[in-house]
Point group: D2
Chain length 360, copies 4
């Protein structure tokens, strides 16, 4: 069930980059939820290619056709399915990779698993394009969560070692959280954003690519969700986030850097808020203790590798001829997928939290 995920909320993603279409079957969204398709469209636009000179020149509408599960704009309670037709495909670019695997891509490992039957065009089922249906599901989850008081937002935390500031640890507002998503380049500090853009452009000019980090926060998540040991918030989110192509690591709260702190530095003391509720004075735990939410903001950080498709010459081998060759990857590729991945990470986190919330 590798392209299927979830428990009470669950979904199956299908399709290949250059096949007839891609899509998602989403189950478990409660009946009676009115979907705002304009909002969904705007959300999907955030991951669409072709929005700026920074991303692949492939242009697709990516408008999903809803085939089931929604009637008169309201969810019926049975599976929601959405189909996105592939249109602008140039498959001839890819034929070579069945013979000569691209470094950093799944060409070689897919060959081992599927014995040459995999659809290699555009990366097939491994393509970043498969994150479009993930965003259809995620965009719906975000709307359902929003009605339950939960807001999920994200921004580029770093690109090529250039860091945006983090979301505020104290007093993070919905405006701050949702701000980056409204920008064409989703950062908190636009001047830093310009530096990042320069780094991306520079990589493109060199026929190269860059990676980066994304920070995602969920505000308003009620306490008491999730369970030890393997049903914890971190387990559930990470099982989904690693489905996003290019993710190499995930951290929660203060993250892996906690390894360098002392307990007295890392522990978040408890205090009473003005309204008498219990909260932590700081949020290094990122809203999760023992796998269970504390009511504080959920903080997730994801590290993404640089796009593996680069024009620069790379070493590879011809599987047929059993000889080493040099390869320059053709085709239209983003020199940096991080900006487009921001709504994808939001989607993954939203879907994970909604599943936990519906499980209760």
């Amino acid at each position: 069930m590798s392209s299927h995920w979830g428990t009470k909320l669950s979904f199956s993603i299908f399709g290949e980059s250059h096949g007839a279409g891609i899509g998602v079957v989403l189950e478990g969204i409660p009946a009676g939820e009115r979907l705002d398709f304009d909002e969904l469209g705007r959300f999907l636009l955030r991951r669409s290619p072709g929005r700026s000179s920074l991303s692949t020149s492939r242009v697709e509408g990516d408008e999903p056709e809803f085939l089931s599960g929604v009637k008169d704009g309201v969810t019926t309670g049975t599976p929601i399915s959405a189909l996105i037709r592939n249109r602008d495909t140039r498959s001839s670019d890819y034929a070579v990779h069945l013979d000569v695997p691209r470094p950093g891509h799944a060409d070689y490992s897919a060959q081992l698993r599927y014995g040459g039957h995999q659809d290699v065009r555009g990366g097939g089922h491994f393509s970043g394009r498969l994150t479009a249906p993930l965003c259809v599901a995620g965009g719906i989850a975000k709307q359902v969560l929003s009605r339950r008081g939960v807001t999920v937002g994200a921004h580029i935390l770093s690109i090529s070692g250039i860091y945006d500031r983090s979301f505020s640890e104290h007093g993070l507002s919905l405006d701050e959280l949702s701000g980056p998503g409204k920008k064409s380049f989703p950062v908190l500090d636009d001047s830093i954003g310009l530096e990042m853009v320069s780094a991306i452009e520079s990589a493109r000019e060199d026929g190269d690519s860059v990676g980066g980090r994304i920070e995602c926060v969920a505000l308003g998540v009620p306490g008491g969700l999730g369970e030890p040991m393997f049903g914890g918030v971190e387990n559930v989110i990470s099982s989904l986030v690693f489905g996003i192509p290019g993710v190499r690591g995930i951290e929660f709260g203060y993250g892996i850097g906690a390894a360098d702190l002392r307990g007295s530095e890392h522990n978040d003391g408890f205090e009473l808020a003005e309204n008498g509720s219990v909260r932590t004075a700081t949020n290094r735990h990122g809203g999760v203790l023992g796998g269970i939410t504390t009511g504080m903001p959920i903080v997730v950080k994801v590290g993404m590798k640089p796009t593996p498709s680069i024009a620069k010459l790379q070493r590879s081998v011809s599987l047929d001829r059993q000889e080493e060759v040099e390869l320059s990857v053709k085709g239209r590729h983003d020199p940096c997928i991080v900006p487009r991945a921001v709504p994808v990470v939001e989607s993954a986190v939203a879907l994970a939290l909604l599943d936990l919330m519906l499980l209760g």
Copy 2:
């Protein structure tokens, strides 16, 4: 199913730190596997407390009684169950934490979820003690993997910012991989190990604690295991590893630092080995591309927070009296759980890989 994990290989972990006992039901181990109980005993000893001045003074045999699934030392194919009785418990230490949650612990989040019915003694089901049955399952998985040519090893990569060297990227031998596990303090470089020990002792003297990182490698994993998008090696391993108390982040291969590299620096070129097989010249991808193994070593790095239980005064609140208080955590606690967590990480990685291997 929070304390249950797995697909073809699966297990359920039960118990509380200070209850009658803890244990595991492990399903899916093929019939006919001879278990080496001496080897398993040595493996369990690696996570046992009370081995040195560095860990909690609680002494437990942790010898599992096998209740089913093994006959004359050989697996029957039906569920293997093992029980570890709790003996040395001093529950009176913990009564206070139902009222005053310990910072960094699950006391407060468990209170939100279980409404005061949770077993708070020794952390209950949240205790690090629950990693003992995980190691029973993991130790068995390691033996089964070993017979199939797969070896899993790990070492302390850092404590308190003091770094051991990494496992060799080229020519990693079984000796090097298994070496740390044979030491009482599992590092590659013993002189670095002494520095780490000093840092831990120093934290203890201060009534404080330290965290660290663990690097785990699996050698001999065949290519072609795992599947996109959510059945990938990273998804499966992380869904299990975050069940280990204290883990705050996980990375694969070069890890999150990939975010700072260019594609030309991060991609691993393919080459032909002397025997004609395909391999990558480097292993920044950590043995996984597109969620599927490439036949190169699987590399996993985990970051663990400092032990939350510290003697130093911390801020907390009395939930009953609704007032802020100061707290010094009593009881016997490791100032650093990282050394004992090394076999636990090995267990998690071994179980995940065996599940993928049995799924085929």
Copy 3:
């Protein structure tokens, strides 16, 4: 995950009777399987409506469009998805049933679950039409099984108390097993079939409907598949078969009648076949002992209720007006769904057995 089923082989079914379309996402079919679309088309035709005067006059091509997972007629190993567009729908027939639930239908129970948001047109997601995508998945499974030596066939065992003979217990040939599926009315004994047709016609003339039984056998299933206690062949098949609308009971081997036999009458003695292999002299156990296959034919019998949609006046209530009313169900309905359900039962059994086979 109610419309999702399976473990290693798994699928999600989506759609509503009168929505945009219905379909299936099928995961786990091995890479490299060549699909025979003509054979699949013939199989789907067996459950299509409009083939004779006996079934609903709704005419649909039911030709699936494959959106992914198949390239040049061969499976890629990643999810296969197929879409069947709905065309010939007359939704106005159904509006009333949101207010006045049809006896024997899911109108009322769906109202309780979905609070009026369910798509009631044509039964929505509860429609027998959803068995079309199940047959797409099942038809593929049958082809894959066939290449592994397993043949699944079924016939009408009874309609309205009129019984066809059972498949031969001894020496059942592929011809006998596949014979009924080649007929427009799938029975073994055509003279009995004519009696059944009369009974159906007679019910139609009375504005009424009839039910019946289906017997399904799988030949060539290797021994040793399935597991105690909840992974047994019976558990797996029944968890799928009860997804077919109208099924009220399921039996294996000699079935529930075993309750009336003595052990000496019901036990199947073992004997040696001429080639030295072990087999049972009789097959009252239906190929499964302790949940595990014995290598003998798998025998499944299913009982289906009469079509609930009948023209005859029935008692119901107006949910809005809170008053009792009389109802005559309009629309185009089969007076007996059993003949069309035969390939659906074959599909369910084939999918269950293929999942067990792939799990190993």
Copy 4:
């Protein structure tokens, strides 16, 4: 995950008939449920052997030791585990069956699956004894359901073709439903019960055995539980019930006999109850339409085969010597397991309904 079952409520059963012990790990029971251990003990006694001359002379206390998940008699919310030690075992009786499989038992199919490594003593993991931990879980589920207004009861519907009357279709009271469970021979009509006892005794005298049917009803189940297509009440219950050794078929409501009725005879018309609520005038649908509960009583009927272990001579083969032999099964066996299976069926139904209820 063959010995694991469930979604939100889930459990793993372990053990072999003649091993160290058997038990269950039960997850998902809400925190804060007070368990009545006396009531549980009485419930377990209903399936215990050795209560009368009718069952095996093996005497076991079957008192479970609770190892976790319960504190001061109240559930903690984390996994409940219970262990039943095996004491009275005479394993020498069974050695022969590794060579000569017993007709009607899993000896031969287990041999195919586990290659001779299975624990054959007393049936090993296939033994009816494994229903004891199922009853521990089921007895707990019954208590939790009871507090939510749901009562599950069952009785022997037939033995050897001798039928008890069914539970009343109209006005079934809690007294009637719970009555059979209070008797040593669980029937509604005690004079029929005496006839059944005679039939069992007669079979025993002949060195033979008899089978029977069990009817189980759940009262008070709220409407709107379950989901199409594979998450329906029938799918969920049957996936569990076929885990009970000896079950050959399952029916819901009027059952398979519905196949012989016309729609006008089988459909249950809706009517208004005196309090204005909607109900069906009859209950041939057995409380489930489209997989979803209607609020009417859930009716399940199960058919069980005669005990396969009989003293009468049977045909078998020696697997080692490859020759046909005659076999008389030694050991202590019930000539009829149906009476003891009544609480087991109640357990299965209760666990299935509680899982659906908790899933919501």
